[in-house]
């Protein structure tokens, strides 16, 4: 990128392109001569940063929440085009399949694409919403999320801390809404209300191939109104928009949530091409066709455009909120406890 731009001493805003064209790695004899004396080389830092990121690799932790049978595992497999979640149909005993309480199962994978390495962790929550009495079924999930924050906090306040603290915090929680076509159920409202304060929630309408387009639109409308009425702020949150450009992009997304998705990990032949889809007697639903379902939008949002933003919001907002609350409450907690103990030696176990 030796475009000969001058280094200017200024405080002005600069315009940025949506996707920067990164310069080729600067070899030794490539640029320093050539008669361009106003080039300093500050923009080479972008390349350095990119190199560093590629070397370090990335981490992503996704949580899927929804009743069993809504297609969570299939959707994960479709998103990452591999067998991320093990198929549950191998289990024969139906009683064994539905756990008594909500379990949290976390599986990690190393995936790589074009030199970019990522450690993907999918956190499954079998048993959510499956019991007869579903009160407080969000509690194990809340506890898990807070435990991850706690682990990160403990690492961070160590004296000898690691060069890179392993990030196991849940970046995004995908919530599956059953396609009833009417409105949100009390369980959905309750869960999303509680969890939208601690984690980024992306609601999706599961198995959307049971809804016609009109039903889908009205269902989405109802859901959006109910979310607004209950004060539930799902990702992308309105209050975290950084500037006008951000707001514009996010407004478009907000008009589309919840995404109506169909998941499939089987390929079929459609018009001479092999596509992922669901084959039925009345036609084949193409998963990646935006006329059929909104899977492509979800994939783009989660992976291609907003992944870094999701991680940033988790790290700088949700985690910081947890940290503030935690440090404040530990002050109060310890004060009452230490009031009666001698000050010299006090070991309090959490």
């Amino acid at each position: 990128l030796s475009s000969g731009s001058e280094v200017s001493l200024s405080h002005s805003n600069m315009s940025e392109s949506a996707k920067p064209h990164h310069p080729s790695p600067q070899g030794k004899g490539e640029k320093s001569h050539g008669g361009d004396f106003s080039y300093v080389g500050i923009d080479a830092i972008l390349e350095q940063m990119r190199r560093k990121a590629m070397k370090q690799g990335f981490e992503l932790n996704l949580m899927v929440v929804g009743q069993s049978g809504l297609g969570k595992s299939t959707l994960m497999n479709t998103l990452f085009k591999s067998k991320v979640s093990r198929n549950k149909s191998v289990q024969s005993n139906p009683e064994e399949r539905i756990p008594k309480t909500v379990e949290i199962k976390s599986i990690s994978h190393d995936i790589e694409e074009k030199g970019v390495r990522m450690k993907l962790t999918v956190i499954d929550t079998p048993g959510f919403g499956d019991q007869i009495n579903n009160e407080n079924c969000w509690q194990p999930i809340m506890k898990f999320i807070n435990d991850q924050y706690e682990a990160y906090l403990q690492e961070e306040i160590n004296i000898n801390r690691k060069k890179r603290i392993p990030d196991s915090r849940v970046h995004c929680c995908i919530y599956f809404i059953p396609p009833t076509g009417h409105c949100l159920r009390p369980l959905d409202v309750e869960f999303m209300r509680r969890l939208s304060k601690v984690v980024n929630i992306v609601p999706v309408i599961a198995k959307a191939d049971t809804l016609t387009l009109e039903e889908r639109d009205s269902f989405k409308q109802t859901i959006r109104e109910e979310l607004r009425a209950n004060g539930i702020d799902v990702y992308p949150q309105k209050e975290f928009d950084e500037d006008a450009e951000d707001r514009m992009i996010n407004d478009k997304i907000r008009e589309m949530i919840p995404f109506a998705v169909v998941g499939s990990d089987q390929e079929y032949q459609v018009n001479g091409k092999r596509l992922l889809g669901r084959k039925t007697k009345w036609g084949t639903i193409e998963v990646e066709n935006i006329a059929h379902c909104e899977f492509a939008y979800l994939r783009d949002l989660l992976i291609r455009t907003h992944m870094q933003n999701i991680k940033d919001i988790t790290g700088s907002i949700h985690y910081e909120t947890y940290r503030v609350r935690r440090l404040n409450e530990s002050n109060g907690h310890l004060e009452s406890l230490l009031g009666s103990l001698p000050v010299k030696r006090a070991t309090v176990f959490w």
């Binding site: 280094v7 990164h22 962790t121 160590n158 004296i159 907003h306 992944m307």
Partner: protein
């Protein structure tokens, strides 16, 4: 749809997975870079060197701008640091550059404490960052990072070896900041001397155990370049912001009668190497080293100094929170004790003051009583005098009435006075009539003359009557 190859293992516990199609997370580095662009970058350089060695000029040349520096005096009593922040922009990258210069370094007679202000400055930047990190409500991503990322140490071109001041200073700083030594004003040394000088400097640094910054070799793309550059340390630089016409181009150079030293000519000096290493290739690594090595070291030392540990005597991990809480309780208890002491002292003082005031009040009371008694006395004396006077007055009155009884009527007791008055009246009349008689010569007038006399006599009689 390109298929990908088998992934390398990032760490244990994660199984590798192969992707059957294009997922799209290869745009992650771009997303990261985009975010960094919108946030902007921060870079802080510290320049240490004697006054007049060319620090400001080199900075100007390096960043191709005029930083508006003025010459410092040689008579500073102490080494001071002057930090200036600039916002630079090149294509779409914004850089917030802070240049810190030492003022008066090496000018004092006694240079023993010269390094101290520099060390203090660096520590202070670490301290502010640590404070921000330890805060409860913090905003690290908005925080303007002022920690020193690179330190350019300017060696004067004596051609022999390092000065002891240089060695001492660099030794103190090598664990706190990335030191990059440069030979300033390299156009005063010839090529062969320069080669020997560089070898001498490096061997001195090694033998004294000074850890200067080595360009990183772990990334394949830049390892080769960095290895070569590591061999050229310390860079011999020449700085200049003036342009001279050479051939048909304008180049940054210094013009001498015997020739022109071109700054960006690699045969003349190592300026281009310095710029490439410092900015184009290793800026991010410098920042990372500062954060992960120097800052962590500082943080560790500082926290251990404050008494925090990671494990307590039973080797159970003690959370920072607990120790912090314990310390906080101790501190609060001490605060309480001091407060009580102060309160006691205060009460004591109040009592003393009260006693003093009471004493003063008593004294005033005494004086007042005294005054009152004196007044009473004086009043009594005056009353006595008044009585005497009254007595005199009454006796005099008595004498007066007695005297009045003895005198004939028409004459008051004050007869003498009246007699005098009568004498004057008589005289006045005689004069008046004499005057008129002298004016009157005819018989006719004689008649009037006698009437006048009669008039005067009756007036006089009347007046006497009135008088009695």
């Amino acid at each position: 749809m390109a298929s990908s190859d088998v992934a390398r293992q990032l760490d244990k516990g994660a199984r590798p997975l192969s992707l059957a199609g294009h997922v799209g997370f290869d745009s992650l580095p771009d997303q990261l870079v985009n975010k960094s662009i919108s946030q902007g970058f921060c870079f802080n350089i510290l320049c240490i060197g004697e006054t007049g060695i060319g620090k400001s000029t080199l900075m100007d040349t390096l960043f191709n701008t005029n930083f508006e520096n003025f010459e410092s005096s040689h008579f500073e009593p102490q080494v001071k640091l002057r930090a200036q922040t600039y916002d630079l922009q090149e294509s779409n990258v914004r850089l917030r550059l802070t240049v810190v210069n030492t003022v008066g370094f090496g000018d004092q007679m006694n240079k023993q404490e010269s390094y101290q202000p520099v060390v203090d400055y660096i520590d202070k930047q670490f301290e502010t960052y640590l404070q921000e990190e330890l805060k409860i409500k913090r905003s690290l991503h908005n925080y303007h990072d002022s920690r020193v990322h690179a330190c350019l140490y300017f060696i004067s071109p004596s051609g022999h070896s390092l000065k002891s001041l240089d060695l001492v200073t660099m030794k103190k700083l090598d664990s706190k900041v990335n030191i990059i030594p440069v030979i300033a004003k390299a156009d005063t040394i010839s090529k062969s001397e320069l080669h020997k000088f560089k070898i001498k400097i490096m061997s001195e640094l090694v033998s004294n155990g000074v850890q200067i910054y080595q360009f990183p070799l772990d990334d394949e793309t830049v390892a080769k370049v960095n290895t070569t550059m590591n061999g050229h340390l310390p860079f011999a630089v020449v700085g200049s912001t003036e342009e001279v016409c050479v051939g048909n181009k304008m180049v940054k150079a210094r013009q001498y009668p015997w020739g022109v030293v071109q700054v960006e000519n690699e045969h003349h000096c190592d300026f281009v190497k310095l710029r490439e290493m410092l900015i184009c290739v290793n800026m991010e690594d410098l920042r990372e080293q500062t954060h992960t090595r120097h800052y962590e070291l500082y943080r560790r030392c500082k926290l251990e100094e404050m008494g925090f540990k990671d494990t307590d005597p039973e080797c159970k991990p003690v959370s920072l929170q607990q120790t912090y809480e314990v310390k906080r309780q101790e501190f609060l208890a001490e605060l309480q004790k001091r407060e009580d002491e102060m309160r006691q002292v205060f009460v004591q003082r109040v009592k003393e003051k009260e006693a003093e005031l009471k004493e003063a009040e008593r004294q005033l009371q005494g004086r007042f009583e005294q005054l009152k008694s004196r007044h009473a006395e004086e009043k009594a004396a005056l009353e006595e005098k008044k009585r005497l006077l009254d007595n005199d007055l009454t006796s005099f009155g008595n004498r007066k009435t007695a005297a009045a009884l003895l005198q004939p009527p028409g004459f008051t007791v004050n007869g003498k006075k009246d007699k005098d008055r009568k004498k004057w009246v008589k005289l006045f009349c005689l004069c008046f009539t004499a005057q008129h008689s002298s004016a009157l010569m005819a018989n006719f007038e004689l008649f009037f003359f006698f009437i006048l006399i009669h008039l005067f006599y009756s007036v006089f009689q009347f007046w006497l009557h009135v008088k009695t």
